[in-house]
Amino acid sequence: MNGEMSILRREGDIKTIWNSENAEEVEHARKTFEDLTKKGFSAFSVKRDGEKGGRLASFNAQEEKMILVPMMKGG
């Protein structure tokens, strides 16, 4: 199964894709996830039409799609 992580950045979203059976790809995605969430990014699991999903506290290689949002601040 393939997973996809979209990271929202200034230059538009950057995608990281992994095959859940490929340990190297999963590890790369996990490290990216953990590095960014340590920096304050929040991670969300999303499904079709935005109907299901939720906030992710940790990386799960079985998630089909996740979106990482930079740290939020009050304006």
Partner: protein, 187 residues
């Protein structure tokens, strides 16, 4: 500024502020007068006056060499490239935003650039196109009663900002309300 140092033994019987005001500069000639007076009226003149009028100074202007035709062309190309990248980023952001809307939200966004959302707690919000101060809570009569300013620290495209605001409202409303700056609007 050595005259303002009170580390010498003559301050042992008084507080620093008293010593400042009554008598002790490091210069022996100042020992009978208050430091402020020494500052303002020395024997050779008023220090402030000397400061203000004594030293000549020059305001420098910086002139830049005129750009060559090649440099102007390179700047124009760089500007166009920057604009193209920004446009591409916004197109990708538009796609990812609409992918994460339900049917009603997609319709509202297409027609009005406004995304309605009802949170798990039953509160209703409108996320308007923008980056800051673009989220409104509405009452049962659809009146805007509160405005929220919250956005990603990084200057992501407006559509990505809206997506982030939607996610926070949808899945972590308490955090949204804790971080956002809120303005109450007249009902």
């Amino acid at each position: 500024m050595a005259g303002f140092c009170f580390s010498n033994t003559s301050t042992t019987t008084g507080r620093t502020w008293d010593n400042w005001n009554f008598g002790q500069g490091s210069s022996t000639s100042a020992s009978t007068d208050v430091t402020w007076n020494q500052w303002a009226t020395t024997t050779s003149g008023n220090i402030w006056s000397v400061w203000a009028s004594g030293a000549a100074y020059t305001i420098s202007t910086i002139s830049y060499p005129e750009q060559t035709e090649e440099e102007r062309e390179a700047a124009r190309i760089a500007g166009e490239e920057c604009g193209r990248q920004r446009k591409e980023a916004e197109e990708r952001a538009e796609k990812i935003l609409t992918e994460n809307l339900d049917e009603e939200q997609r319709k509202s966004y297409a027609e009005h650039k406004v995304i309605p959302i009802t949170t798990a707690k039953g509160r209703k919000y409108l996320v308007k196109k923008g980056r800051a101060g673009n989220v409104y809570r509405i009452d049962e009569y659809s009146r805007e009663i509160e405005r929220f300013c919250i956005h990603p620290e990084e200057a992501v495209p407006a559509q990505d900002t809206m997506l982030a605001q939607l996610f926070w409202l949808r899945w972590c409303e308490d955090d949204f309300l804790r971080v956002a700056n809120m303005t109450r609007l007249a009902a």
